[in-house]
């Protein structure tokens, strides 16, 4: 009866996958907030949230409900349309960015091959860079439309920072692409295999560059200049409240998850287990991402925020030449067919 559907199954499967991924990523955010607060508490020798429910797990439900029901204040001098559009863009782009991440191999399901990824395109890495550069617009719009000096400064700062570090991010990723010869993320994972083949052993400097640029790209401490409290109140989302405020948070945390997932895919062998016989689908991928998220939080607890001019000098005068040289070396090695 449904024979006519045969050539179009990929559309239906794709839509289902899209819904599942979007819901999963969005519902991971409150858990991540809880994890961060608990871990930060431990890092600072205090307890963190532990009153609501077992281990303080009820806190995440309480927080979500509070944010949903808070009054949303829009000041009269704001540019209303852009003010409402900005948080939507931030969340939308961060979810779309996650769609290129592969988190498992493909399986046969009723005659159809279903891959555990949103989209396995030939330009996976480029699509990631494109979508993450679109996310900047949400921040600039938020800063501009609030009609507030702090917001504007925060928005401009953050976009300048993201543009600067995107170069390093792209060039570092390019070194991996030169080695594997593919922009397809699933193929990059497949080439790595178990622990001996992980790219981090072959490209330790690239890993470091990518990770540092990734922290700056997600606006996390020690590069959280856009929301530097003592200078800018809260940066670009100073004027936001209620759910719109929390949507910026959501965007930041989803970006964090995506960045960890991308580091896993590019350098830590994706869904492959360290040794072959331990291979369990998805678990290893989630475990690696979880570990990297903890590293993100650990770094936030450890390093103080750096000054803005230092940040720019560090990005342009140190990281960029280094990543260019790094790419040049791997390009030469590839041309001599050593790697």
């Amino acid at each position: 009866m449904f024979d006519w559907l045969d050539p179009y199954w990929f559309l239906i499967i794709g839509s289902v996958k899209a819904v599942i991924i979007a819901v999963a990523v969005m519902s991971a955010v409150p858990a991540l907030v809880w994890l961060e607060r608990r871990l930060l508490g431990r890092f600072q020798v205090r307890l963190g949230p532990n009153r609501v429910g077992p281990l303080g797990l009820g806190q995440l439900i309480a927080d979500s409900i509070k944010l949903l029901f808070k009054e949303s204040i829009v000041q009269s001098s704001a540019d209303k349309f852009l003010f409402h559009l900005a948080p939507a863009i931030v969340v939308f782009t961060s979810i779309v960015t996650f769609s290129v991440i592969p988190f498992g191999t493909s399986y046969e399901l009723g005659g159809e091959t279903v891959g555990l990824w949103g989209a396995n395109t030939n330009i996976g890495l480029l699509l990631f860079l494109a979508m993450s550069s679109m996310g900047i617009y949400g921040i600039v719009m938020a800063g501009f439309s609030s009609n507030n000096k702090y917001s504007l400064m925060g928005g401009l700062r953050s976009s300048a920072q993201m543009i600067s570090y995107e170069l390093t991010l792209g060039l570092a990723a390019l070194a991996v692409v030169i080695m594997t010869g593919s922009l397809n993320l699933a193929e990059i994972v497949n080439q790595q295999g178990n622990i001996a083949g992980w790219n981090i052993w072959y490209q330790p400097l690239t890993f470091l560059l990518f990770f540092v640029a990734g922290i700056a790209e997600t606006n996390r401490a020690p590069f959280d200049l856009p929301e530097a409290e003592q200078e800018l109140v809260a940066g670009f989302f100073t004027e936001y409240s209620g759910m719109k405020f929390s949507m910026f948070f959501m965007g930041e945390y989803i970006n964090m998850i995506t960045m960890s997932a991308l580091v896993t895919v590019l350098f830590l062998g994706g869904w492959h287990a360290p040794v072959d016989f331990l291979d369990v689908p998805i678990i290893w991928f989630v475990g690696k991402v979880f570990f990297l998220l903890c590293v993100f939080i650990w770094i936030r607890a450890t390093f103080p925020r750096i000054r803005y001019d230092r940040l720019m000098a560090f990005g342009w005068k140190f990281l960029l030449p280094l990543s260019l040289g790094n790419m040049l070396i791997y390009g030469t090695l590839k041309a001599l067919s050593i790697i």
Binding site: L5, A130, S133, M134, M141, G155, A160, S182, N184
Partner: protein, 198 residues
């Protein structure tokens, strides 16, 4: 386009056509959005909205590329134009403070008439492409099968570095000259010429 409508008008209804029609409708919708956004760039009175419309237009173009299976060009369109170039536009507008301008679309000067007639002619020429009909598959050595095999990034790279090597290298030299020029303009100040009388 008209024969396309005719084709669907006369065709026997079958359920699979839902998807086909959806695809065609999507292409049409994105195309119209692109045109509307382009109109918004010209007609909008506040510069920040003009820039935003331009971004929207570029994103629509990227979507069109994507719908025609040119993934690489779509990604490059977003990275370079919508991502890098337009953010600088927005930067400058936000820094200089955007003021709304009084646009009087009604009073027609000679320049406006000239520009309008030029654009009108171009638009009429564009309309003539309607007679071509359905989009045809790519011709030449890069066929659909080759594209499926190598991925469009590789296909573009192969042609760029073999057939079009000299124009490509010339363009890269041009970019290098422009970069050096920008650094010179931004960095060095020309010392004053010392005159004897001083």
């Amino acid at each position: 386009m008209f024969d396309l409508i005719e084709k669907y008008w006369n065709a026997e209804w079958e359920p699979a056509m839902v998807f086909e029609l959806f695809n065609q409708g999507l292409t049409l919708g994105v195309g119209f959005t692109a045109i509307l956004a382009a109109l918004g760039v010209v007609a909008c009175s506040s510069p920040i909205y003009s820039a935003l419309y331009l971004i929207g237009h570029m994103v629509c173009l990227a979507l069109l590329f994507l719908l025609y299976n040119a993934e690489f060009i779509a990604a490059v369109q977003v990275v370079v134009y919508a991502g890098a170039v337009m953010i600088l536009f927005l930067f400058i507008i936000a820094l200089l403070g955007a003021k709304k301008e009084d646009l009087k679309l009604t009073d027609i000067t000679f320049e406006k008439f000239l520009a309008g007639s030029f654009v009108g002619t171009l638009f009429c020429e564009l309309l003539m492409t309607l007679a071509v009909g359905e989009t045809r598959p790519p011709k030449g050595e890069i066929t659909q099968e080759v594209l499926q095999q190598v991925g469009s990034a590789k296909a573009i790279g192969l042609t760029l570095f073999s057939k079009h090597l000299i124009p490509f290298e010339l363009a890269s030299a041009l970019l290098l000259v422009a970069t050096v020029g920008i650094i010179c303009l931004a960095k060095f100040q020309i010392p004053k010429i010392r005159r004897r009388s001083e």
